[in-house]
């Protein structure tokens, strides 16, 4: 339906490089469902559990020993802010999953603090996702998911689970924390998949 808002002109703080419905910010807003977990790197661990129950584990030293990538990506939050050209350092999921035997279609990311989010496994591979531990050349702040978060920049930012502690692979799609609270199961910002049914 098309209605005009009487007297509204808008500031047009967007641009063609932004997905529909997003506005540009230079800040770095924080959105989390509970208190910020503060995880020491010596207690950090990342686990991948395959659909057969096999576990693969990395502690912080093992993560640091893996080849890291530095890269720049745009990020898009479902609350409508987008931030362009953010610079990160981390390990590609291609590297972490290289020796994991799986035919699973789906992954559930689990975080310290209990957060979860679901993704198709294909969206984590082929240079599309990372476990990142630096933002803008500095260790990742706890408010932004430090010491390490998942980063999947082509999906809305709630898929980039903060304080990530593992992935559970599965043949069937389950729904994560926000997905069960009314948000879209996939979350493509360019298709404006914000809420269930979009």
């Amino acid at each position: 339906m098309d209605i005009v808002s009487p007297g509204f002109t808008g500031r047009r703080r967007g641009g063609t490089e932004l997905p529909p419905g997003q506005y540009l910010t230079h800040e770095f807003p924080v959105l989390s469902a509970g208190p910020t977990p503060r995880i020491q790197t010596e207690h950090w661990e990342f686990t991948v559990t395959s659909e057969t129950g096999e576990k693969y584990k990395w502690d912080w030293a093992a993560l640091m020993a893996l080849p890291a990538e530095e890269f720049t990506k745009d990020i898009h939050c479902v609350t409508r802010w987008s931030k362009l050209q953010t610079t990160w350092k981390g390990v590609s999921l291609d590297t972490l999953l290289a020796d994991v035997e799986t035919g699973a279609d789906y992954a559930m990311a689990h975080s310290y603090g209990g957060y979860t989010t679901n993704l198709p496994l294909d969206d984590l591979l082929d240079g599309q996702s990372w476990i990142v531990y630096e933002y803008d050349g500095e260790p990742l702040d706890p408010e932004h998911g430090g010491p390490a978060r998942l980063l999947v920049p082509h999906l809305y930012f709630w898929k980039s689970a903060k304080w990530v502690r593992g992935l559970v692979l599965s043949d069937i799609e389950d729904l994560g924390f926000w997905e069960t609270a009314g948000y879209h199961e996939y979350g493509d910002p360019w298709k404006e998949q914000r809420y269930a049914g979009d």
Binding site: M1, D2, I3, V4, S5, P6, G7, F8, T9, G10, R11, R12, R13, G21, Y23, T25, E27, F28, P29, V30, L31, S32, A33, G34, P35, T36, P37, T79, R80, G113, G114, T116, Y135, D136, D141, E143, H144, L175, F177, W178, T180, A181, G182, Y183, Y195, A196, G197, D198
Partner: protein, 250 residues
């Protein structure tokens, strides 16, 4: 983390502004008439969409300030400096105007009357808005669940819902405490932010089994949530909603 959710498609609806109320110099409550409103749970939010004559659109999310009571809902909007949507909602939109909305959204930062245990609400500034919906739902349901509100404001003139809060404070089931960070009214000697002492004095203890809802600007929520965890509260019983940037250099 429970699995709620009826996964139905949300559509844009045209609401009509039925009334407006000035709350503070920078905040206004919009009373909206929404003929097909499906109902909501206290604490949920909705999207507002504005369309310029040339088709340009801007949308933002706002917490719902009222408990569900038929086809009327209330939003309280605080004007964001240099904002694109909030100045329009606070200063331009008038009674009788249409407003496109979509919702309700969110199933985590919510309170339902059937929920177990006491409830601690902690709000900073306009973070009191979804908490007010919870207080209204509590009163509307005739719930005897103990509720406490700790509300951090700069000064007496910054208090949103003044008369409402006075009325609620008179109820035996709700304890309302205001914490002034800049200027306090006469007879209120303490000026300062919520700290460990305030939490210890006014909030439920970890043993009370309360669910705590914290809403406000990000630095406020970070500080309060950390204080709660440090005081021994189970992080799983602390629900947060934040707005704005970190306040840090980035």
């Amino acid at each position: 983390m429970e699995r709620t959710a009826i996964r139905r498609r949300l559509t844009w609806q045209v609401a009509t502004v039925a009334d407006v109320r000035r709350e503070t110099e920078t905040a206004r409550t919009l009373v909206l008439e929404v003929p097909d409103w499906p109902g909501h749970v206290a604490g949920q939010h909705l999207d507002v969409r504005l369309t310029a004559p040339d088709g340009y659109r801007a949308s933002r999310s706002y917490s719902i300030a009222s408990a569900w009571s038929g086809s009327t809902i209330e939003l309280t909007v605080e004007q964001v400096p240099d904002g694109e949507v909030s100045p329009y909602l606070v200063d331009v939109l008038k009674v009788g105007d249409p407003l496109e909305i979509r919702g309700p959204v969110g199933g985590w930062f919510v309170w339902k009357p059937e929920q177990d245990g006491p409830v601690q609400l902690i709000g900073g500034g306009s973070g009191v808005v979804p908490l007010r919906a919870m207080l209204r739902a509590h009163a509307g349901a005739g719930s005897t669940t103990p509720f406490r509100l700790l509300y951090s404001v700069r000064r007496p003139e910054s208090v949103i819902y003044v008369s409402d809060l006075k009325e609620l404070a008179a109820s035996d089931d709700v304890d309302v405490r205001l914490v002034y960070t800049r200027d306090a009214p006469a007879g209120e000697p303490r000026v300062g932010r919520i700290d460990a002492d305030v939490i210890a004095q006014y909030a439920f203890t970890p043993e009370d089994g309360a669910t705590t809802y914290v809403c406000g600007p990000t630095p406020f929520v970070e500080t309060v949530a950390d204080l709660l965890v440090a005081a021994g509260h189970d992080p799983a019983r602390v629900r947060t909603e934040r707005f704005g940037p970190t306040g840090g250099p980035r």
